[in-house]
Assembly symmetry: C2
Homo-oligomer: 350 residues x 2
């Protein structure tokens, strides 16, 4: 996947992510420190900084910090100093954490990064409250940033609305049939995934560019690149949601199948029309899969070409994301690091 | 309570509220219409516009719209047209609705305005999502308002942070003892109530003034008036939470007592030191009250002077709110309407 980047002095994706996390960390710690101590404790747990007793867990279950990195690289890519994008990086990271907390409540996901989800560890009410606190703090931090904050706040708000609408679609899809006139179509799936996953990744890059003082066409191009990256990312996530190793994903095996999630591999498999697709349709129509049936569903999805189709979808959106970057005048170093980062994120399943 | 307003041509509190609701309604309907249809349906239910089937219920369970009225009157009080404050009115009304949705989840309150709470009618996950959508839409609407939006967005964000912190305190207080060194003190109670109830009422008035172009000292005075109003309001709510008629409050009798809520009447009663206070302390220390015991707790709180003390607290804050208004140069008509509105809100228990 890294074939287009030949230079030996380009850092790896994890180098890039680490550098960005280190730059953002003090401001992120400060933002969490401004929360009510109780919601701050839940936020620190959720960010992987501490355990449920509030004891620091250095490096334990911290996220990669993709969104904060995109914000900093967005600024560097338009020739600005990464420092100016730190408020944007903090905002997108807090919004991401908010969405994980609330999504885990809505999806009844008990595990997150191999640890109990916040609602499991602290209770549903407290998890809802901590998410609210993170969301309020995210917008506040950006609204208090001097300079281009009005455009930045509007960008973040747009992403928030898209994110919530995408989550609404995702939940509604669970009640839709697998087949027939009420089935979820490819365009509906795409719109859901772009809202749920693409909007905030696009916003992260765009916020960096806005805070870096870039003109609107550049901001829009970076937003588009991030949205395509999000669609690639969601496709990868859908693959991992069926075939991922629980030791790596930190989630139970076949979780998406048990919940009847309308994921890309299953929708693509059903659309194929093969014998495996028909058997899959019958199996899914009967009931939510038991453990044994989920195993069979996963096999049929693979046999009917669902996994390959989703891998293709991920690759297409990754290519579109990289094309959007290449078509935009960006500084060389940041553009390369973005390219490495984009490739690294999709590498997980290819 | 309306003794200070003698003029016969001053409208009643319900006239004022009705006029403001009519002015804000189109923009509020538009804001809800921009939500994802599913979250929009839950928002419309929550606002009392429709039932769970989405069928319109005109005038059914609509709230009074105190916050939207305060926003419009805040603008009129500084000599501006109410129309300029409509985006602020919509924002505070949406934030209020968001907070009702999420608070009912956190407090496990099954009833709201005599109907099932959103989480009871639609499920916990959907209620969390609808709250998120309302919050995102509230900030977005204000961020998109031309003119003074940066200051307005910052005001709303500050209120949001206070609101969430107040709710955090309220939930934490439930786990604190009634007596001894860990008991909730008067200052802690006040800070919780100001955050939970005062911040958004203050923000509503302040937003109206900001959008009306008022200078900072006027904005700050209106914010202060609204915060005192909120403290009066919370005291009234605490009284209704113990002695309110379920037919009027739309909530079960003694709800706050059953949940061990640290409300003003109980805290004030315990602080009294009378025989009734000591018996109350013993009773509360033993366990959460059953129905019969809750009846006895309510009697003891009254006997120990808790109800009278809280009525006094409400009156003091109402006076402070009116004093803050009188000390500020405001237009005569709007100042009178605010006075009527303030008095009307406290009238519920006095």
């Amino acid at each position: 996947m890294q074939g287009t980047v030949e230079d030996v002095d380009v850092p790896s994706a994890s180098d890039v992510l680490r550098r960005c996390r280190e730059l953002v960390r003090p401001a992120l710690v400060d933002a969490v420190g401004r929360l009510h101590p109780w919601t701050g404790e839940m936020a620190a747990y959720s960010l992987g900084w501490s355990d449920t007793a509030g004891t620091p867990e250095p490096g334990g279950s911290e996220g990669k910090g993709v969104r904060q990195a995109l914000a900093l690289l967005g600024a560097e890519a338009v020739g600005a100093d990464a420092a100016c994008a730190v408020p944007g990086a903090v905002a997108v990271e807090l919004v991401h954490t908010f969405s994980l907390l609330h999504d885990d409540v809505m999806d009844a996901d008990a595990l997150r990064r191999r640890r109990p989800a916040v609602w499991k560890a602290y209770g549903t009410g407290p998890a809802v409250l901590a998410g609210d606190a993170l969301l309020a703090r995210a917008v506040t931090g950006l609204a208090e940033t001097p300079g281009h904050h009005a455009a930045a706040v509007r960008r973040l708000c747009d992403a928030l609305n898209d994110l919530v609408a995408g989550q609404a679609e995702d939940l509604r899809f669970e009640h839709r049939p697998w087949d027939g006139p009420g089935a979820v179509g490819p365009e509906e799936y795409r719109s859901m995934a772009e809202g749920k996953t693409g909007a905030l990744l696009g916003c992260a890059l765009a916020l960096g560019a806005v805070l870096g003082g870039a003109p609107e066409p550049t901001v829009a191009a970076l937003d588009r690149a991030g949205r395509h990256l999000g669609l690639a990312f969601q496709a990868v996530d859908d693959i991992l949601g069926i075939w991922g190793d629980p030791a790596t994903t930190g989630k139970p095996v076949h979780a998406d199948l048990h919940r009847g999630k309308k994921t890309h591999p299953v929708l693509a498999a059903l659309a194929g029309g093969s014998r495996a697709a028909r058997e899959l349709g019958t199996l899914l129509a009967s009931a939510r899969p038991t453990d044994a049936a989920a195993e069979r569903v996963a096999s049929l999805v693979e046999e009917a070409g669902g996994r390959a189709a989703t891998r293709g979808e991920a690759r297409r959106h990754l290519d579109a994301a990289r094309d959007a970057l290449r078509a935009t005048p960006l500084t060389r170093t940041a553009a390369r690091e973005l390219d490495v980062l984009f490739a690294g994120l999709a590498d997980r399943v290819m």
